[in-house]
């Protein structure tokens, strides 16, 4: 049976960056790459990053 699931994951990411540098853009790209790299460990699963948005107040 083929199954699918849509997961919402909340990540807290910290790192050093220049004050005015776009941290949201660089971390969004980093998360895509992290997921892609991590999904190689599970070739039985097809993982697609559909949307990454910043959670703000």
């Amino acid at each position: 049976m083929r199954k699918a699931i849509q997961l919402k994951v909340i990540l807290w990411i910290e790192g050093e960056d220049e004050p005015a540098h776009d941290f949201a853009a660089s971390t969004t790209q980093a998360v895509k790459e992290i997921v892609e790299a991590g999904s190689a460990k599970h070739p039985e699963l097809k993982v697609t990053v559909k949307k990454i948005t910043e959670q703000s107040g």
């Binding site: 960056d17 004050p19 005015a20 949201a24 703000s56 107040g57």
Partner: protein
């Protein structure tokens, strides 16, 4: 014929001259009235009076229209520029202003019922239509004072206007102002204390703000009216409007008939 008056000529011109004089008088009066009204809206109020229970000037929930708004000013905050590190940079600049204003006291309803075009919701200012931008500009940037009660106060997390600073001193305080003591947040006005302003007010803490809320003490909030288009989904749930007082510049608490600055409370 030159230089000679025809018989009856003065009689026929007299009514015309009288009408012209009357029209000029009316125009003159209208201009004077407009100038008076304009100066009334732009005249500093010298800040709210210090006695409690002063009646807000916005009668019937009407929001005063201030034609010329003060230009925001900024101060560098720990390396973070006023436009922040991304997102809607024009919005961030409004959030990060630090100038004081000549606050106009308005009724709670005047802010809570103030309309906005729904077409601006979840959109950066740079993509607003000129009509929408003009509609918002009629009210945004007005220095206001509003009275009410604090429903809750929370420290926010990292955000673009504060360059995603991870530490406490880079976070906004998100506060809910309600019209009556004990009201839930459904019809509240969100007011925000920002890091650059907070840095001058060490006594502004979420602990004290929550205590004031629990004690149901009446507060008087002064700051800049700003539209935050990012959270229309919260309207009717945890806020009554996307108009905010942001940043908050002054907080006063009613105690024994006097308004006491929050800075002087323990």
């Amino acid at each position: 014929m030159n230089g000679q008056n025809l018989p009856g000529q003065p009689k026929s011109y007299k009514p015309v001259i009288v009408i012209i004089v009357i029209i000029l008088l009316v125009v003159f009066l209208v201009l004077i009235m407009r100038a008076c009204l304009r100066s009334r809206l732009n005249t500093p109020t010298n800040g709210p009076d210090t006695t409690a229970g002063g009646k807000p000037s916005g009668t019937g929930g009407a929001f005063p229209e201030m034609r010329e708004k003060p230009k925001p000013s900024f101060q560098p905050y720990k390396g973070c520029p006023p436009e922040g590190d991304g997102g809607d940079r024009a919005l961030n600049m409004l959030k990060n202003r630090v100038d004081e204003g000549n606050y106009i006291q308005v009724q709670f309803d005047a802010v809570e019922k103030l309309p906005w075009p729904t077409t601006v919701e979840r959109k950066n200012r740079s993509s607003w239509s000129s009509n929408d931008a003009s509609a918002i500009a009629r009210y945004e940037g007005t220095p206001v004072t509003v009275e009410g009660y604090l429903a809750d106060a929370r420290e926010e997390g990292p955000e673009t206007p504060n360059c995603h600073g991870a530490d406490h001193d880079f976070h906004d305080f998100h506060i809910w102002l309600t019209q009556s003591a004990g009201d839930d947040r459904t019809n509240s006005i969100v007011i925000e204390m920002t890091p650059p302003v907070r840095s001058n007010h060490p006594n502004w803490t979420t602990k004290i703000l929550r205590q004031i809320g629990r004690d149901q003490q009446r507060v008087r909030i002064s700051g800049w009216l700003m539209l935050d288009p990012e959270h229309p989904d919260q309207v009717g749930k945890t806020r009554g409007t996307i108009w905010e007082i942001h940043p908050v510049m002054r907080v006063e608490v009613q105690q024994q008939g006097r308004w006491i600055p929050l800075d002087k409370m323990s």
